[in-house]
Amino acid sequence: MDATLLRHSRGEDQTLTPLGGEVPLLSRPLLAQLASSQSAWPDSVDMESDTFRYAGYQLNSVGVPVFEYHLNGARLQDHIGQKLEERSLTRNITVDFDQSASSLYCLLAEGKSIEHLPDGSYGVDDFRYYLTINDAPASPIERQQNGQTQLLLPIATQADPTNISYTITW
């Protein structure tokens, strides 16, 4: 990211600019608690709510930040893993539930179209990018919301940490 505009003069334009090309992904929160698998996905996170808290990040051994959130009694860790090939990113999420926590869903992708390919991967929005699930606690659910197709992953409450990993390639 180019942070020049934050640091030029008074920093009037408080924006960052991507140094490379842009691949728009989700514009909604990654995780949410839904009443049912058909409930609408929220547009944003209520930063002031008691149920959500951003806790910061820890730099791992290679200096990559592992972000931590708390949502409804679940502790989430989220980081970008080692790059397997150019034009790809792997995201790793770990969910730890405490006893009182309730089940969550993870939103993997959203687009006008999501096509399930024979090799098990998904092509999003006319193959603008591909999504491959590496590790998941359950099978994903496809559903519609406001004319958009969404790919959801249910995460049931359990004692052991749940690992989710997926790779996007463009």
């Binding site: 942070a3 934050l6 640091r7 003069s9 008074r10 920093g11 009037e12 334009d13 408080q14 930063m47 002031e48 808290r53 951003y54 806790a55 910061g56 990040y57 820890q58 730099l59 930040p65």
Partner: protein, 647 residues
């Protein structure tokens, strides 16, 4: 003849003192060298328990200085990737910093000298406006933290996101309690010796001049924008924004009738005692830093200097006096902290807001040389007057003359407008000056004291017992309450705020197009750019051309535009600095032949056009003479002998 010689000798001695004495004799500025590869735009300073100095920077880094008290400390980067962290603190093995949107705890968990844990203690929303600076944290003894949140700037100060304009208290586990509001630009705050919280405020909309204010739970310090959130369930005050009219009058009178309103504890008259108060640091060195133990130091970003404050409690509320202390730092002072060596470490930046010190950033330390300056140590309110305490015994003859103490009082308007002229100025009469038995104090009996007013107390010609003149001969006492026993004279225009007139039209300031012009030959439009700049470096007009200059002040501070004779901008700018209390009335335009044409001082987002006939050919200058601006905010007006195209 003998008498003449003696006088001559005395004059020589006096002159000798005048020439020999400087602030540097008593307090020496040392520069800490910064490696060329580091842009150390200081946002925060904090010493760790093991004597390292942490420095957070506006570029989002935290640097650790090893052996910071030595001539050449070594630098290592502790943290990076932060969003303009404008404060730093250290507690129990961790640094805490305030980014724009959160307090962050930085911990080195693997002991490699670099932070690897960036823990969000508490976060708050931002609108994205550049002016949403966040400052702190300041640790309370129990481990709770205080932060202050700057207003956004959208042509005026506004609270676009929750708790902007507030002082907040936050526990280590992230519980937040709003404490006080009315803050506009609260870049510096600190404790006094009693652990009470004071914050420094800059001149701006609703804020007539720089000042410090004692903040307690439920206080409202003056700028109404933060009241956007006063009806939230956890707000400690119920004051509504609509209850503050656009032109209030005098703040101390308003405060008598409207609860929660907190008048300033000490005013810092604008341009005379600085232009942008920043950090607050109380002298806890118990004498290690000289004779001012227990007093407060206040930094000034724009004037690159440190001022001094004496506080006392009258009627259970704080008030007191400010004094000049030390100028000449290298850049704009944002932070001051005590080192383990009892020296004052001063962190600076002038990006975006230029300072008298010309460097873009810097780190210096202020060292007491061990010599005691002859200074007014304290001014106390006493019945029907003031008591002045000095740092050394005074000469009885000069100190007992009433003519040695010219006292003037004045105040600023409390209104929506940006800044305020000096209003209701009156001279006081000193009718008796009584020197104490130990000659350390002088008690002044004064007529004309006014409650709520700033009292300029000059000490003119008083010598120490050894014949030394004062290093600084003035103090500004904010008399919020009379001392017990003061007999109140009939109030004089107490509740009227006679707004000063806009500066008057003259032949140097013609704001209507002359009737004998059909139209101007040339129209020059000049705006501003951030960082004290005009948006036009130069323009060219022909001799005798009918010129209209429209100065559009689209900046967020006060400016004017003064056209001067060739190579006279420095001289005119310096003369404007020397105007003192009178500068305000004159729009900071000195009366001199070097000034050819000028605008008034313009509020932000206002403009003015002036009309004149271009003088004989030459390279003229135009400059902003608002004190502190002239060194950088200027351009050239080239006048040619033939018609030349202009921009």
């Amino acid at each position: 003849m003998r008498k003449l010689l003696l006088s001559f000798l005395l004059i020589c001695i006096s002159l000798g003192w005048l020439q020999a004495q400087s602030e540097d004799d008593y307090y020496r500025i040392e520069t800490i060298p910064i490696p060329d590869s580091i842009v150390l735009e200081v946002g925060g300073l904090a010493f760790s328990d093991d004597g390292q100095l942490g420095v957070s920077t506006r570029r989002g880094e935290v640097w650790l200085l090893d052996k910071p008290t030595s001539d050449r400390p070594t630098f290592s980067r502790f943290a990076h990737g932060l969003h303009e962290p404008l404060g730093l603190a250290y507690r129990k093995g961790a640094f805490y910093t305030t980014q724009r949107a959160e307090i962050t705890k930085l911990t080195d968990t693997n002991q490699d000298g670099k932070a690897d844990r960036y823990q969000s203690v508490y976060s708050w929303p931002l609108s994205g406006n550049y002016h949403e600076y966040s400052y702190g944290p300041l640790f309370l003894p129990n481990g709770d933290m205080l932060v202050t949140l700057n207003l956004a700037w959208i042509g005026y100060g506004e609270s676009l996101a929750k708790w902007r304009g507030w002082l907040l208290r936050i526990t280590e586990d992230g519980n937040m309690t709003p404490i006080a509001t009315g803050l506009r630009s609260p870049a510096g705050f600190g404790f006094d010796m009693n652990g009470e919280v004071f914050y420094g405020e800059n001149q701006g909309d609703w804020i007539g001049s720089g000042r410090i204010t004692h903040l307690e739970k439920g206080d409202f310090a003056g700028n109404p924008a933060g009241l956007n959130w006063s009806q939230e369930p956890n707000s400690p005050l119920g004051l509504e924004r609509e209850m503050i009219p656009d032109s209030v009058g005098l703040m101390h009178e308003f405060a008598k009738n409207v609860s929660s309103v907190k008048p300033p504890t000490v005013w810092f008259p604008h341009t005379i005692m600085g232009i942008s108060t920043s950090d607050i640091l109380t002298d806890t060195t118990k004498g290690g830093f000289g004779p001012f133990a227990g007093q407060m130091f206040v930094g000034d970003q724009g004037h690159s200097k440190v001022m001094r404050v004496f506080l006392e409690e009258i009627n259970g509320e704080y008030q007191g006096a400010c004094f000049p202390f030390r100028e000449g730092f290298s850049s704009g002072i944002l932070r001051m902290r005590w080192g383990p060596d009892d020296n004052m470490y001063v962190g600076m930046t002038s990006r975006g807001w230029r300072s008298t010190g010309p460097e873009p950033y810097g780190l210096q330390r202020l060292v007491w040389t061990g010599k005691t300056p002859f200074e007014i140590k304290a001014i106390r309110a006493v019945a029907n007057g003031f008591e002045l305490e000095f740092t050394m015994p005074v000469d009885e003859t000069t100190a007992s003359q009433i003519s040695s103490y010219p006292i003037t009082n004045f105040i600023y308007s409390y209104h929506r407008k940006y800044g305020s002229p000096i209003i209701n100025q009156q001279a006081c009469i000193v009718h008796h000056a009584e020197v104490s038995a130990d000659r350390m104090k002088v008690r002044l009996h004064v007529d004309g004291l006014r409650e709520g007013y700033i009292h300029e107390i000059k000490v003119d010609g008083v010598r120490s017992a050894s014949g030394q003149p004062l290093l600084h001969d003035v103090g500004y006492y904010t008399l919020n309450h009379f001392a017990e026993g003061t007999e109140v004279a009939a109030p004089i225009a107490q509740n009227e705020s006679s707004e000063a007139q806009d500066c008057e039209a003259s032949e140097k300031r013609v704001t209507e197009m002359p009737e004998d012009w059909d139209e101007p030959d040339v129209v020059i439009t000049v705006g501003t750019e951030p960082g004290l700049k005009y948006d036009l470096a130069d323009f060219t007009v022909a001799e005798g051309a009918k010129v209209q200059i429209t100065f559009n002040n689209n900046d967020d501070m006060l400016h004017n535009l003064v056209v001067t004779e060739p190579d006279a901008a420095d001289q005119v700018g310096e003369a404007a600095m020397q105007l003192g209390l009178a500068g305000d009335v004159q729009g900071y335009v000195p009366v001199t032949d070097e000034v050819l044409f000028h605008t008034c001082i313009l509020q932000p987002e206002t403009s003015e056009s002036i009309y004149f006939v271009a003088p004989s050919p030459g390279d003229y200058e135009f400059v902003c003479t608002f004190p502190g601006h002239y060194k950088v905010m200027r351009g050239k007006m080239y006048v040619t002998s033939q018609e030349t195209a202009v921009r």
